[in-house]
Amino acid sequence: MYDDRRIAIGAVGAFLLLIGLLLPTYTTDWTSWLYENIEWSLQSNDSGRLMITALSYISWYLMTFLFIYLGGMVLANIFARDHSSLLYQGLFVLIVLGSVYAFNELYNEHYSYLIHLLVLSILLFLQNFIPQQKYFYIMYIVILAFILFSVQWLNLIPGMTKFGFGSDDFAVSIKLADEYLTDHILFNTLSTILFGVFFVIAIIVTTILHLYSKQVMISRQFQEQTQELKETRGALIETNVYKEIHSLVHDLKTPLVTVEGLLSLLAMKIQDTKSQAYFHKINGSIEKMKDMVSEILYEETKRALHVQELINYVVSHISLDDPNIDLKVKVEDDLPMVRVNKIRMSRAISNVVENAILSLQGEGGEVNVRCQESDEGVLITVQDDGMGIDAAYLEDIWEEGFSTKDSSGIGLPFVKNVIHQHGGTVQIESEPQVYTRVDMFIPFQSKEDNKDDSRH
């Protein structure tokens, strides 16, 4: 899936390059027009016409090189995503210079490499100031066009010829015609002015874009902060509500204990067997209710559970509606029971499985849940072949609130909390674009088990 996308992008890049390289064969009308107009301006002693021809010449090369540069950019992007990385820049420069070389060889041309060294240098410098936003490519193309348009005028400054500029056929012809018509005066001045003007425009455009995006970013940051403030306030209220519920649930216990006591009194007083059976049932229900109250109230409450039962409970609560995602569960036979807080432990495992499923969203793939015995405990492994986690984030993911998918980011901290409470360990291993594996280890006998787990 990932490779398919790479190939598609590569094809687009190669296609753009090819258009650039083959453009001269499709625009022979244009180039004939250029050639004839240079001769015409001589014939009619018309330097104005020569100027228009020069403009047209620069536009023609502008088109050719725009395709080559964009193709180079797309191709280099396959191997290195980050535009500021040396790998990307090096590849980009190599592809562009290589294509210009191919262009020169293909058409027996001598287009000056200096122009491209200069354009590439300016472009690599300015691109750092182009805001990385949704219109990045459009802005990039506009700025590239301005740079190409301005720097190419160096080809038409006769005074720059001795430095190696303007060695291509049209540039030589135009400068020659200019020497005959105006003794180099026209192009020495006009080309210099046009180079300067368009160069300054390119820089101004980049600066404006940069400043504008900075302003947008600041106002967005401000909005985010306001939002965050609101959320914190909401969370504060929520915690209070939670505390309320907690104390309510706690208060339920007092009447429950009263009912239990009164029931035992009744059982002593009324001895007929039918009533005794009822009392027994009522007592069972009260016990169950007390258990539930305590599982909600006390994290330490645990009970012995088959691993299979725990996993079944987890799986039954996961909704999987993407047919491309394959959830495979394998639980080793004859695993001893584990002592866990069923509600919290199953929530923890679900969280990990949900993360795995989310990492496959859109692309599809496999999630493998395996449970096996491993020295004095059970090892629950959840592995997916999704997008993986960037090595730089492997620490951050355990922080409360860290999320790359705009979610609450409380999943993994909760998992860690629960597993640690059971005396276990949890680890994540990942290779971006290849896999992510979460290992949760729960010991059969944890220290906390020695404590009294039925505090009432």
């Binding site: 250029l34 050639y35 041309e109 490499y113 590439l120 010829t161 001795k162 056929d169 020659l176």
Partner: protein, 196 residues
Amino acid sequence: MKKYSLAAFLLFLCVGVMLVNQRTSEGEKMNTWPNLPAPIGEAPMLITSAGQATEGKVFSFITKDLHLEGDYRPRALASDLYDYSTLVIVAGYSPHGLNQTYRSIKEEKKRVHRLLHEAERSSIPTILIHMGGAARDDEITWSIMEESMHHLDYVIGFREMKQKKELVKLADDYDVPVTLVDEMEDLRTPFNSVFR
């Protein structure tokens, strides 16, 4: 600043190449003829191009300014020569110019070769002009000059040119007088000396 390092390197490279280019284009001065001591040609002349560059056209205008009688026929054939008393070949390879004629460079060279032969056969003096200078010193243009040298009677070119030394030496080998000038304006005197 790692992200600027390649940009800086390219800029340095560009400036470096520019300086190297500038130094090689200057070079030492060579002693060549300022012009011909005695005229060798007569009007009318046939001006043709070898390589179809714009130089041919430009040069034909210079001859008009000098009031020298002649025609510019960039694609002239050997059979066109009989009307004329002097042959002027303006060397300069232009891929775009050649595209206009739908000819290959091979055919173009053959045409020039036939013209030179015909001129030699009819003892018509032949002058080669190379006015592209350093801007038009590619291998193809140079090969045209090299291959024509032994048919020539006079060569006028620009001092700024990659193969300047070879040119002077080659001309010396075939006893062809050479004049090298600095700019287009300076072409007029030596060319005038061919006729007057």
